[in-house]
């Protein structure tokens, strides 16, 4: 008899081998191809082959970070299979990573021992994979479920406190997971009453893990138990488990790896920020120009309900901080009528930062929208039902994440709502107001065009800069901002959540929040400063500012605030750190231009570590820095400084 044909995955592996064999080769579509494959065995082999290959070669997009992301995998079972899957998934999403696998079943020791291999690896992301064997005693007694419950509780609390202490000590972002109960353990229960009790106490365990991910600093939880609803096949293969303590089948490992990669995206601030949507056959069914406003499909009956559902999902994204824009080849007046008047529209004109409806090229529109909003193209998602438009945007703007909404509209929502796409660690107050913030930014750029001299324009803006110590409300935003800011980021590095919170609470350090408002409205928290406060001198360890407020003198005003406070504290010297990265050229000029003197660089004696340049100024020598068009205000509500 004839053997079955090999899977299409072998073609994928051929491409991976070819890429690996030619060190200068680039296969820009390979990342996308890997991302859309669900064959865990193929992706596992691809991940093994891709060790040492950079993401740029799979995506065709230049890398953002100078060093790979350090990711540790610490598991209570044999999780070796997760590592290649994680590598393949991260690379396909454009993230280079060094992945460290801890010895199996030493999770607590690795977390608590400051000299463990895990501690020495100094991961930015620590994945703590747990299976039921870590929590459920092998000899658990179905006739004493209350006793089992007590043990579960104790072990779960032990893990959570070890993880929380580790996150605080190291500043690493930690991912826990909810633990699915294997069939063998469920099957051992005879009575329906006891099965319900076991289900309940097991859920209590998972709820404790989820609560840790809701509230503990630096600790997050992947809900693996829920992810399994979309994985075909069993949680574990009893043969692999008995033979080698492999607790997850490759498909489960892949589902986990994808969630973990989404977490890494969130940690590195790579979640997308703007969703650009087509209209005809995307946000509604039919063609507006042909069918008319009354003829388009929306509402409660298939296929109209698919489009209505997509609109609801997209509105939910908007409420979580994703910016929405329309880019449609359409008649503008008709579009405006439908957006504001059609009774079945969920999305309304105010939900969008921009509504573009004309007959120009969409790739040009997306590019100019990026410029107007002052966001990188790698923040953009483009969703369209036309393969032509999708192909054009993909070709001309490879950084844009293109979602092809051809085919049955029942799939539209799921295609747009990929977990990794818009991934964020937490939500901040600014997220929910972002649409109006950015609409203000577009108005500013029009206002800008109406004023001839820059200084006239800036004076007319009435800019107010408020600086003060971080508080509970501004800290999440500052942590997020330091991660996300690439251009005006003095060192290109982030302190992370745990260290930032320590800095904010310490008398020897400070974290400052910078807020900017002008006649168009408040921008919210747009900048942060991480400081050492020594007796004689203060050190600006990092200073980040959102690029949307650059070139208005805000950065000088912030330095003024710091200098004023340092003088009040009787310091005489202000020092500042700078480390050049691929993207932070806009920040390089600030210290030299404001009277700071360079003390030394990477090759000099003064450098602390790679590439760091130290600047210093005597506080007596510093001139007035705040430009005359800015009002600088101090916000000292919670007095630390």
């Amino acid at each position: 008899m004839s053997g079955p044909a090999l899977s299409p995955g072998d073609g994928l592996l051929e491409r991976v081998r070819a890429l690996r064999a030619a060190p200068d080769a680039i296969d820009g579509g390979l990342g996308r191809a890997l991302g859309s494959s669900d064959d865990a065995l193929i992706l596992y082999e691809a991940g093994r082959l891709l060790e040492g290959v950079t993401a740029t070669r799979l995506t065709g997009i230049p890398g953002k970070r100078s060093s790979p992301l350090r990711v540790a995998v610490a598991a209570t079972f044999t999780a070796d299979g997760v590592v290649p899957l994680l590598r393949a998934t991260l690379l396909s999403g454009g993230i280079d990573a060094d992945i460290h696998l801890c010895p199996y079943d030493r999770l607590i020791v690795e977390l608590t021992d400051p000299r463990s291999g895990l501690a020495e690896f100094r991961p930015e992301v620590t994945l703590c994979l747990q299976d039921s064997s870590a929590l459920l005693p092998r000899e658990w007694d179905p006739s004493d479920l209350e006793g089992t419950r007590a043990v579960l509780r104790e072990l779960t609390e032990a893990v959570i406190s070890a993880v929380a202490a580790y996150a605080e000590r190291t500043g690493s972002a930690v991912l826990l997971n909810t633990v699915p109960l294997p069939r063998a353990d469920r099957g051992g229960i005879v009575s329906f009453r006891s099965a319900a009790t076991l289900g309940r106490i097991w859920r209590e365990t998972n709820i404790a893990l989820l609560e840790a991910g809701e509230s503990r600093d630096g600790v997050y939880t992947a809900d693996l138990e829920t992810l399994l609803a979309d994985v075909s096949g069993p949680l574990r293969d009893e043969r692999s488990y008995r033979f080698g303590r492999m607790a997850w089948t490759p498909r489960v490992e892949l589902a986990y790896a994808r969630e973990a990669a989404a977490f890494c995206r969130a940690v590195t601030g790579r979640g997308r920020k703007v969703l650009v949507l087509d209209l005809d056959n995307t946000l509604w069914g039919g063609v507006l120009g042909d069918d008319g406003p009354a003829g388009i499909e929306l509402g409660t009956v298939y296929p109209g309900d698919c489009y209505t559902d997509l609109q609801r999902r997209v509105l939910a994204l908007r409420r979580q901080g994703v910016l929405l824009a329309v880019c449609s080849k359409n008649d503008r007046t008709l579009v405006e009528t439908v957006l504001s008047q059609h009774p079945d529209m969920v999305l309304r004109p105010d939900d969008f930062v921009a509504v573009i409806a004309d007959w120009e090229r969409k790739d040009l529109h997306v590019a100019s929208l990026a410029e107007e909003l002052n966001l990188g193209l790698d923040a953009f998602v483009f969703a369209d039902d036309s393969p032509f438009e999708c192909g054009m945007v993909q070709d001309s703007l490879p950084q844009v994440d293109v979602v092809r909404l051809d085919g049955d509209p029942a799939w539209h929502s799921l295609k747009v709502l990929d977990r990794a796409r818009f991934a964020q660690l937490g939500s901040t107050a600014t997220d929910s107001e972002r649409t109006s913030l950015y609409r203000g930014r577009r108005e500013r750029s029009r206002f800008n065009a109406a004023h001839t001299s820059t200084e006239d324009y800036l004076r007319a803006l009435g800019i107010r800069v408020t600086v003060g110590p971080a508080n509970d409300y501004t800290l999440p935003r500052l942590i997020q901002l330091e991660l996300r800011t690439n251009q005006f980021n003095m060192t290109g590095r982030a302190h992370g959540e745990a260290r930032t919170r320590q800095f904010a609470a310490s008398a020897d350090h400070a974290v400052l929040a910078v807020e900017v408002s002008d006649r168009f409205g408040a921008e919210g928290v747009v900048g942060g400063v991480w400081l050492d406060r020594g007796e004689r001198g203060w050190v600006i360890r990092n200073f980040v500012l959102s690029c949307r407020v650059l070139s208005r003198g805000v950065e000088q005003a912030v330095l003024q605030y710091i200098a004023d406070r340092a003088r009040q504290a009787a310091a005489v010297l202000l020092e500042a750190h700078f480390r050049p990265t691929e993207r932070n050229a806009p920040a390089a000029a600030l210290y030299p231009a404001t009277g700071f003197v360079r003390l030394g660089d990477a090759s000099g004696d003064w450098s602390e570590d790679g590439g760091l340049t130290r600047y210093a100024a005597r506080l007596d020598d510093l001139p007035v820095l705040t430009p005359d068009w800015i009002t600088l205000a101090a916000k000292e509500a919670t007095e630390h400084v």
């Binding site: 053997g3 079955p4 065995l41 082999e45 299979g81 033979f243």
Partner: protein, 86 residues
């Protein structure tokens, strides 16, 4: 060469990272660089996924050569031809 053997050589090549044409029916699995318990479990999963058969781990672990494993797969396929292979 049988089709099963030809496909199996590709699968073994996958998990041990070598071209299929460098594997023979007589190639000893334990002698291949890259062979180990993880490679063995991934080969097992790949064989079972490709042929929709299930092997007994005890007999699987006794097979020494690519050819022996191919013969076992052929036997399983002959005993219960899967309806949806391919």
């Amino acid at each position: 060469m049988s089709d099963v053997l030809s496909t199996l050589r590709t699968l073994v090549g996958r998990v041990t990272q070598r071209p299929a044409d460098r594997l023979e029916s007589e190639s000893r699995l334990a002698g291949l660089v890259g062979w180990g318990s993880l490679a063995a479990m991934h080969l097992l999963a790949a064989v079972e996924q490709t042929y929709r058969v299930q092997l007994d781990l005890r007999s699987y672990m006794r097979f020494e050569t690519v050819g022996e494993l191919a013969a076992e797969i052929s036997n399983l396929l002959a005993a219960a031809p899967p309806e949806d292979a391919g």
